[in-house]
Symmetry: C2
Subunit: 199 residues, 2 copies
């Protein structure tokens, strides 16, 4: 549309870069926003700016947070000695939605990958080993995706934690082969957590 205001075209193009929104649904969303400039468009702009300016990685666990230490790490009721290791923040959110876990997390930031030359130091694995030794961790739950890289990473961590005295478990029943946590329903995740087994 050459005769369209360029600010609106720019907004549609930016919005279309979100996952799940193509050009057509981005246009539709912008039309909706234009009808609700005060009630929705400005609040959305403010909410985005606030999060963009305040979001950071939790210094303790790697979760996304708006404070140095995230609400999970700073919640004393969650200092249970159980530490759940996940690949990324999406998986942490999926575990939280499932609601069955009351301990704390450690976000690796990815998986080991020979192909992509990602070694332990590219992930938050050194920090994990330190936390297990220093924070009285009694159980480490390896909630990694059931992919080749996820399981390679789990085995690497298991070896690195041998001798720390912490019990190692992994999500069991219900995680399909090749499945990614973030795509599973809450019930499946909760069942897998309950049926966790020694690693």
């Amino acid at each position: 549309m050459s005769d369209s205001p360029r600010e609106i075209e720019a907004l549609i193009e930016t919005l279309a870069r979100l996952p799940g929104l193509g050009p057509r649904s981005a246009r539709r969303a912008v039309l909706h926003l234009l009808r609700k400039r005060g009630a929705l468009m400005l609040p959305l702009a403010d909410a985005l700016r606030l999060v963009a300016e305040t979001a950071r990685d939790c210094l303790a666990c790697g979760n996304v947070s708006t404070s140095e230490i995230c609400p999970i790490c700073s919640n004393p009721e969650r200092a249970t000695g159980e530490l759940c290791v996940v690949e990324d923040v999406a998986d942490l959110w999926a575990m939280e939605r499932a609601g069955g876990f009351r301990g704390r997390y450690h976000v690796l930031g990815g998986t080991l990958s020979a192909l992509d030359a990602i070694g332990p130091d590219e992930l938050r694995i050194p920090q994990l080993l330190r936390r297990v030794r220093e924070e009285g961790i009694t159980e480490v739950i390896l909630a990694l995706n059931a992919t080749v890289d996820g399981q390679t990473t789990a085995h690497y961590i298991a070896e690195a934690l041998a001798g720390t005295g912490a019990t190692l478990t992994s999500l069991a029943q219900g995680v399909p082969i090749g499945g990614e946590l973030d795509y599973l329903d809450d019930g499946t995740i909760t069942a897998a957590l309950r049926a966790r087994r020694r690693f």
Copy 2:
């Protein structure tokens, strides 16, 4: 998620109010934005604020614009004497995407509706009558939706414009019964425009 930063929860809730985005896809979009805070999240916030603060209705045609007179109305090449009447801005955008029309528009802002007590003065019908008389309009294309209210509105406008000397046409071939312009593909709209007939 009680242990989630409330700014991020608020952002997800606001984003989930967009059409086509539920809570799940809003979460996914926010995770994507969090990974691209500088490259996507801040630009999106700025684009939203800019449009929210500058968008207004074109004084001439009712199109959404960031200037008093929209780019279509102020484009001298489009002063063809053809005026295309549409129900809302979404329909104008659909006509522009189809690309077959080089005249100007008049956005009614809805349709007449006895049920909802919407009469001519609730729409931009008085302004339409004035434009047809004052702007040298030779053809008025009634591009209203093929719904009962759309066609009622078209008939009302046709009677009001009788005697102005302007030819009245309507979109013809290709618009399905009950169909709404904004959902049609570009080819259908272009074909309907080419085959327009006297109203």
